[in-house]
Every structure is written in C-alpha cells, then in structure tokens.
Symmetry: C2
C-alpha cells in the first residue's frame, strides 16, 4: 500500500483548504496588508528543532493560520500597491492546484509530452496576443532574472563565438548596455556571466527616465574604439522605479548599426501590448532579438511564470545544450521527436507552469484581459490627476501605464528633509495595514510608487490610499510647524 497520506484523508483536507482558499480570497482585503511583526518573530514562534514523529496536518494548518498568515505581506490584497502589484487570480490558482497534484517535469519532451506542448501552445498564444511576429519562440522560466540571464548568455555566445569552448579568459572585454533605470537583474545577470561590473555600462536616461539613444551610441562607439566588444543592449519597457519606456525603435537602430544583440525587458509592461490603445507604447520591440514578459506580474498568473521570447532560439540552445545519455530520447523509429525545453536555459527541472497560464488566458480571453488592464490604467490615471491637482504633491515621472511615481513636496524644506519626510509618509501609510506602497529613488531623491496590478483592487482602494497619503502628509506638515 501507498506510504503517502491515504487519498481519502487527502480529500478531506483538500476540501478544507478549498474553503480556506475561497475564504482567503473573499476576505484578504480585511487583513492587514503588511504584518505587524519584527524580524525574528515568526522564527521564534516555531520550534527550533524538526519534529521527530509525524504530526497531524490539522496541527500544521492551525499553526499556518495562527503563525504564518499573520506574518505575511499579502500580495493578493486589493490594497497592495507595492513593487509591482500582481494577482494570484482564481483561474491561475486552480491551475497551480492541478500542477501540484500532477507533479510532472517538462525537462525533455518525453518526460511529459503534454507539459512541453502546452508550453509551446500557451507561449504562442501569448505571442499572438502581444502582436509579436511568429519568429519569436517562447519558453517559460521562473523569473525575469533568469529569462534575462539566459538571453544575455545567448548574446554572449553571439559576440564571442569561441566562448562556449574557451570561456572569457583571454578575451577582450565585453560589455552590456542598459539605462541607469534598468532593473538590477540585468547587472546581476552580467555579473553571473563573468563580465564583472566593468562589463556593464549604465547609459544615462533623459528627464523622463528613458535611455538616451545618443548616449548609447556614443558609449558603444567609444568602447569599440577602445577595443571593448559590445555584447548586448537591454531596453526596458516599463522601468521599475517610474515605469518609463525606453525608445526601443531608436535603440534598435543603434543595435543594428553595431550588430549587437537587443534584449527587451518588458517583464511588467509587456501585457500592455494586448490593449490596442497601449500597444503603440511598445512599438519597435518586435525588432529585438529577445524579449522577456512576465505573466506573473501584470497578467494575473501566480508566481512564478516568466516568458522569454527569442528570435534566434538556436542561440539559446547553443549556449546551454548539453545532452547526456540519461536524458536522451528513446530512439524514435520514424525520426520524429519533440522539443527538449531544458536546452533553453539553466534549470533542468521544469514545473508545469504553462497549465496556470493556459487557465488564465482561457478564463479571461483577449477581451477580458483588455478590460482588466484598461481598468488598472484608468485607476492609475485618476490617481495622477489627484497628485497633479495638489500643491503638496508632485508627480516625478510620466505615467504611461498603471504605476505612478510621485513625492510629497513642501516649500521651505530642503531635498534631504523631503527625502526623510517621504520615507516617514510611506511608513505611516503602510502602518495603517490598509494599503502597501513602496519607495524608490529618482533623480537622486526618494519617490513613492503606487503600482496597480491586482484584480481585486477597486477605485475605492486607490481613493483610500490617497486619503491615507494626505493624512500622513498633513501629519508631516503639522510636525514641521511645531
């Protein structure tokens, strides 16, 4: 007999959890979005030693409810406006439940054919929704950090054809270019690939935080003159701090002129291309060699799910493919064979991530996705009008999508005082437990961010955030007067 929990015991617990999950999704808005815990609180509430004997899952669930849940920041809360707001949507969660029960591994085609082919189908569906040409071939990774790392590895392979054999030792310096607003994962990828910090060049951005193509051009020209080999340019569509959108058409011209790989980080903003009136914001991205779009950001898919599109997938394969005998396909009498998705990146083990994406795309459909993204953009737009109409607040950057960058300003305070005031404001707002905002730095100073991306967020939640911000700002002003 099976040595797992008996299926009938599992059934009872799974139903109990189904109710807990439904209650959670219905009631998460009433929980504090950020927990009232200090570092170490949760750890100290749990035993320091592992259990010697089996414990009842009812006890585990009780601890889950009493210790874990109150210690979480609730990303599925409608008042979550931090980082990039995301949604674990109901269809996506259902897909994850099934994937967990199946526990298949799509490392090679024959290790689970339907998992590989559903990944091909869903990434191709998403490509069509995004309006990208058919040459783009998609593969699902865990995060944009991994997707960008893999894209840059392919770019390295293109720039240093003998690096696969000889490595970077003894090669002339290679360099990757991204704007000073690019995500930290790009520099991390560059470090991982062995380029060092010298192998990364942050290109200045303009007053609206978009990479300056002239500065990019000059940097590459100077590098080539100095014997440095340009490896890749990374254009960001939707930067983390301000959601600015690099001028990708002009950047693509630079890439073409110098024959350099163009990678587009559209992890957050990519889904905007599904919305007809927003698609022009991304115009030109189809000229890239590779593009990353994260359905787990602004496309309602539970973490983790990042799609890497690559126009030259054979480059990815060349950078990564090593096929030992224990993973080779059984001999196919007719020579036909499926794709081995492990060859497109570092991770051999590959969860059945396409299942949740398939659930999301079908449950919402193109129309449903468009309607929801529009609602997010409309809420962000309304918030910007409040900011713009107020003397105490200043919008720090344009708001092309659903993320607003702004700050509290008041006459007579120096920049450093304002930085501290903004940090105190966001802290006070977050202490309410009703909403969560995060901060960033723009132009060398603290800015606050309100990112809208959760399906449960309504205009009332945004209004409440605005009210809490104003109250916190009034508190700041009152304490200045004292």
């Amino acid at each position: 007999m099976s040595r797992d929990l008996p299926p009938e015991e599992f059934r009872v617990l799974a139903h109990e959890l189904a109710d807990w999950m439904a209650d959670y999704l219905a009631g998460v808005g009433a929980l504090p979005v950020s927990p009232a815990v200090r570092p170490g609180d949760v750890r100290r509430a749990l035993p320091a030693q592992p259990p010697e004997v089996a414990e009842s899952l009812e006890d585990v669930l009780a601890d889950f409810r009493d210790i874990i849940v109150p210690g979480l920041t609730h990303w599925n809360h409608p008042g979550f406006f931090g980082y990039y707001a995301i949604t674990g949507s109901a269809p996506g969660i259902l897909g994850e439940m099934l994937a967990a029960a199946l526990n298949v591994n799509a490392m090679v085609w024959h290790s689970s054919p339907a998992a590989t082919e559903l990944e091909e189908v869903t990434t191709d569906w998403l490509r069509q929704l995004l309006g990208l040409p058919a040459e783009f071939d998609g593969v699902i990774n865990d995060t944009a950090s991994s997707s960008s790392l893999y894209a840059l590895a392919a770019a390295r392979d293109a720039a240093f054809p003998d690096a696969h054999e000889k490595g970077l030792f003894g090669q002339s310096t290679g360099r990757v270019y991204a704007s000073d607003q690019a995500h930290s994962s790009i520099e991390k990828g560059v470090l991982t690939l062995g380029f060092g910090q010298d192998g990364y060049r942050a290109i200045p951005s303009d007053a609206e935080f978009r990479m300056r193509p002239d500065a990019l051009h000059a940097a590459i020209e100077a590098d080539i003159a100095a014997g440095v080999r340009p490896v890749a340019i990374v254009a960001t569509l939707g930067t983390t701090s301000s959601s600015s959108i690099d001028p990708v058409s002009e950047i693509a011209e630079v890439a073409r002129e110098f024959g350099v790989w163009l990678h587009v980080d559209a992890a957050y903003a990519g889904p905007a291309a599904i919305v007809p009136e927003l698609r022009p914001l991304l115009a030109g991205w189809q000229q890239a060699d590779s593009i990353v779009v994260n359905p787990h950001k602004w496309l309602f898919t539970p973490v983790d799910c990042s799609v890497l599109y690559c126009r030259r997938p054979e480059r990815l394969v060349r950078a990564f493919s090593i096929v030992p005998e224990y993973l080779s396909a059984p001999h196919e009498p007719d020579g036909e064979s499926g794709r081995n998705l492990m060859d497109y990146g570092v991770s051999l083990g590959r969860r059945f991530r396409s299942l949740k994406l398939w659930f999301v795309l079908r449950a919402f459909g193109r129309e449903g996705i468009i309607e929801r993204l529009r609602a997010h953009v409309a809420m962000a737009k309304e918030f910007t009008t409040w900011i713009d109409d107020s003397a105490q607040w200043h919008r720090v950057a344009p708001t092309p999508l659903s993320t607003v960058a702004f700050r509290f300003v008041t006459a007579g305070a120096d920049a450093h005082e304002l930085d501290r005031a903004n940090l105190r404001i966001v802290e006070r707002v977050n202490r309410s437990g009703e909403v969560l905002l995060t901060h960033t730095q723009l132009d060398g100073h603290i800015a606050l961010r309100l990112s809208i991306g959760n399906l449960r967020t309504t205009p009332a939640h945004v209004e409440r955030a605005w009210q809490l911000l104003r109250e916190a700002a009034e508190g700041e002003m009152a304490s200045r007067e004292r």
Copy 2:
C-alpha cells in the same frame, strides 16, 4: 468590485478540483504511466489561436481531462521508475495549494516576513535532520541546476577576488573539476559562468563510477603547473547514471591541500543522511563549502524545491548582492532587519516554497521519513537480488541506495547488439504503460535504470517491472533465435 472570478465561483471549482486531485492520487496507478502520444499530438488537439472571449472554466477542465492528462507522463504513478523517481506527496500538494492562493514573494524580508523566516526554519530543520553542522546556512532555489550554479559563482568569487569588478577577461584560465559521472548541470553551470568547456575537467572514475581522488590530485597539480587556476571541485553523492558516491573525505583532503572550494551535489542522495544506517555513506560531506540537496527528489516535496547549503553564505551574497533603492528596506528605527534571500542567487522573485517543505517535514517527521526511505532502499535491494541471481541480467554498478543500474546480457551478442537490445527492452517495457524505466550509458554502453522514490510504489510494482523486463528479454532472445 473585484475583477477576478467571484470567490464563490472559485469555491465551487476548488472543491471540484479537490475531488479530482484526490481521485487522481487514488487512481493514478491505473493510468498508463507514459502517454500514447507522438510529438505534436497534444499541440494539434488545441486551438492554434488564443481565445478572444472568456471561456468557462468547466470547458477548460474538460480539455484538461480529455487532452492534457492523457498526454502526460505520470511522475506521481507508483510504476514511475525513470530518471529519479519523485513524489508529489499529499502534504506537499496541500502546501502548494496554499502557496498558490497566497501568491507572496519572499524576495526581501519585508516583502513577506513569514515566508523568509519559514524558509530559514525549514532549511535549518532539514540541516539538523541531515546531521550537518550549524555553520551551514540554507536557502531554497528552484532546481539543483540553479543551486550548483550559485555555489560555483561563489567559488569563482573566491578564486578570482577581482572578478566581481573586472570579470574573467584577461584572467588566467580557471577550472572546475567533477567526475565523468557528474550531472550535466555542473558543466552547464560552468558554461554559464563564462569558463567555457575548457574551464571544466571531467575526472576519471573508478570501476564503481566514483571519482578517483588520485586523478583529481594529479589534474589539479598539472593545471597549477600550467598556470590554470582551480576554482571548485564538485563531488557527487549519488550520480545520475548509477547512484555512485564519490569518496568525499578524500576529495575534501585534495580541496584542502589546494585551497579549492568543495561543492557537493547530493541532490538525490542527500536525504539518505536522515537514515542512521545510510548516513555513513555520505561521511565527509560536512567538510564541503556548499551542498545541494533537493527535497523535490527523494523527500516527497512537489517540484520545485532545491536547498543550497553554504558554509560561507557571505560568498554567495558577495557574488550576487546588488540592492537598488526600490528594494531597500524601510528604515528600521532600531537598526534591526531581516534577511533578504534574493541576495543568495540570481532569481529576484521567490515563490513561497518553504511552505510545502514545512508540511512534508511535519506530516512525516524524522521517524516517518526514515521508515519511507528504508522501504525504498529495501525494494531496490530486493530487485538487485533478482538481477544478481539471473544469468540474463547483469548489475552494472553497486546499489548503495534506491537506484539500480543493470543491463540485459546474452552470450554470443556483441556489445553493440546488446546496446540495441537493451534499448528495445526498455522501450517494450515502457509501452506496457504499467511502469516507466529510463536508460543511461555506463562504461560506454547502454544500461537500464530502476529508480525508486515514489511513496505510492509498493513491492508489487517492482515485481511487475521485473516481470515485464524478463518478458521483454525473452522476446529479444526469441527474435535472436529466428
């Protein structure tokens, strides 16, 4: 109002899925373990275009049942003996359900404190169960490929202190050493880090497929004389082809002599250290700088869940830490702050993977884990006695754990004929749909593998595999006689 599926609609579907999952776990043994599909079959059964409008989730579930499930290889099937057999156990699946509903991201402490601290607690519990010293600090990654990549990145940082700044350009060649039986992820990691294939040296193994410390010593000595810098030695405890166990104590002596980072790949075999009589097999591994153990392999945790233990975690942080303002912690009045686990690897986004591991460790407890691992080893041992007692079969390697490497042999056939016969045998056995075995290459020839790691596997399933193997072998012999 929320633009997600209404919670009450989710509740109904979640209960429906709870039943499907319980039925699946109860009945998976009656499904064909490998699907009767050809490449492209599943893809062609699905629409080539994405849905324009929302579809009912009942329709999606119908397609899931009718198209997807019949196209899967069922890793949760009790007759799954391929690759490394794994288990999506009931407790682990329950943990994944909750993690999907919560959808939190443990990238930094304050982005979800309990998720970070539960990761600290569960990896420390597992460390204690494994008998590793307290200096080992654990972090959860998706796969062993990623864990080993991160460990090797830390080793690179140790070997080339200025590589973080300058990269590998202009450095003397660096090299990583592993046995010729090491997993392909090690070479892939070496390629990713910019070392090239020249930066990887496969050390010969002995007649029992264990790395030869004398050959390792000689290779490093020769490399140093030639100006090559040794970066890391990777010892494998439980190689993929034969589950051989490198002599890690002797390898650790070599690492110490030359001051080289020692990484231990115990992705599969690690949990054996929980079983008192098996722990001596791994003796010496506690001398490593880093160790990878995958609870999603032989520890009943759904994919993905790989734990990287590092004795010098500050090396990992140095290799990867880049903290931009938008991820920095809110100012802590008393200077206290939690750990930011994103700093220990490439991926910024981090699913709540510790939750399922916590469920598994508590639901089974030390005793329960020991009992189950012992049962797997006992079944493998029994299978080896059948192989050893049969003239037609030959065990290719020792069987220290739960994975058996063997091949069909018959007098008068040359080695190449035997290779083809073994491939035909495994294909014929797998076509039964009752069990799944995979093949590998050992000593330059095809070997079959039977890996036991599923909680639903019983002695009857192993007996059935043996019967199917003998029948297929008889078919081979009959066709030779014709």
